[in-house]
Symmetry: C2
Subunit: 306 residues, 2 copies
Amino acid sequence: MSETVFPRGVFCAALTPLDADLNPNHAAFAAHCRHLLAEGCTGIALLGTTGEANSFSGDERRALLEAALQAGISPDQLLPGTGVAALTETVALTRHALSLGVTTVVMLPPFYYKGVSEDGIVAAYAEIVERIGDERLRVVLYHIPQVAGVPLPHGAIARLRERYPGTFVGIKDSAGDLAHMTALVERFPGFAVLAGADPLMLPLLKAGGAGAITATTNLVARDLRFVFDHWADPAQAAAVEAAQARVVAARERASRFAQMASLKALVAERTGDPGWRRMRPPLVPLSETERAALLTPAPDEARRAS
Amino acid sequence: MSETVFPRGVFCAALTPLDADLNPNHAAFAAHCRHLLAEGCTGIALLGTTGEANSFSGDERRALLEAALQAGISPDQLLPGTGVAALTETVALTRHALSLGVTTVVMLPPFYYKGVSEDGIVAAYAEIVERIGDERLRVVLYHIPQVAGVPLPHGAIARLRERYPGTFVGIKDSAGDLAHMTALVERFPGFAVLAGADPLMLPLLKAGGAGAITATTNLVARDLRFVFDHWADPAQAAAVEAAQARVVAARERASRFAQMASLKALVAERTGDPGWRRMRPPLVPLSETERAALLTPAPDEARRAS
């Protein structure tokens, strides 16, 4: 993979902590961002699916991005999600990011209508880029058909890359299918393909991928960064294997119950702040039974720890 | 069915005409609303799926509702869609409608996350109602799982009806399954069940339903209103049958190609305004080939017309 592919690295699909009124907690979010960067994240992909972004209004999203910047996070380290159902709102959110010097965004396709044509997807992204009209803009496409309900077909990516080669720089592929990711790497040289599932970053890097934007990074950023830095170094093979095993285990642990609620429950444990467990409806926290099961190590984990 | 069930009648899921910049055309929309009411619509369910509402920003939605009111449409005749992915934005849109005297809204569940729990759906609607805190509010729930990706389970409706009996007054059921609609009528006495598909209004009325909120009404409001007014009158049986046949034929015609693009193409023909054909991405107008086929009567239609 060319070193010029951008963005490259380990990006955290950051959780969004909420206050008692279920509104974003800016101070706790800024602290979480600082923690993630200290753990080795290349950057923070805030306001994505894991960050409950589509449960927040445009104003709430803008305020969260501003809070991260005011907390001292560099604009270069922030990759906000700005793609929503209405293209005019996507334009407004993206322009706002650009106005703050945040030039790389992760952009869902418009996701309300299902079964839309390739022409329609291309027209939507083209209209967004044209309306924004800012050469600095770098868009990471976001393929997560199991949630958005709208896949990004290869044909649409090809047409957007051809029409706006400097703008559509990469894709976050969260469909969980390694073959789909490697097909993207092969078809689109110079395009940054980022794994949306932590365990798949390692095989994707071996196939020429650019890294990962993932949820479990909220817990194991240090391990994922170690894998990213050392996967090709034979002298580190055993350490890479061990780090990858911890990433896989963390992902599996967070997937026994609802993933985002589990991640929040585990961050609440790490920080000692039970407020971290809150979620905005329609998502809900784990039940107490689920949380107790999550926090009780499985027999093999207990054995390893002893 | 009790006469006190509200809302009752024939409501048009109104199309939204666009100007050359693909922004809502307020003058053309107001004219369309007046036409629909003159044709017999009980009211206008603007800013729904057919109205491309989720392709518009909050500001665009607010401006369209204000334009309809400024054009002289009564607040009682307007049922705007206000349910979006973010509950805070749903609250803002609904409060705005209430501030204008528009008290009945059609509300999708939050539709980004899929597979959400019944608890999560109830929590979302409850949070919305509590935050709005306005006794005047009347919510028509909106069940359209094939587009929203989030069905409204009967258990959630039961809990919301129990907790806020005067608020959750009805449902637009657009799943296209008559058995599902009649099950709602049977389970929830006093609840207004409105068909989301034109041909199903007649059988739903016979089963105790309250009417319809439909897309083909953009073309055949007069016929659907005739069916609504006279379906139970034996003296009008033949005329009701003929009107219902025209409704079914119009719906079938508009379903040969993409439905909303077809409806817009047909309104463009009626009004002589080709601008009516525009759609905002990710939806796109019919191709010229499709439009030509749509406008060429099928052999049996030509025979009837001759």
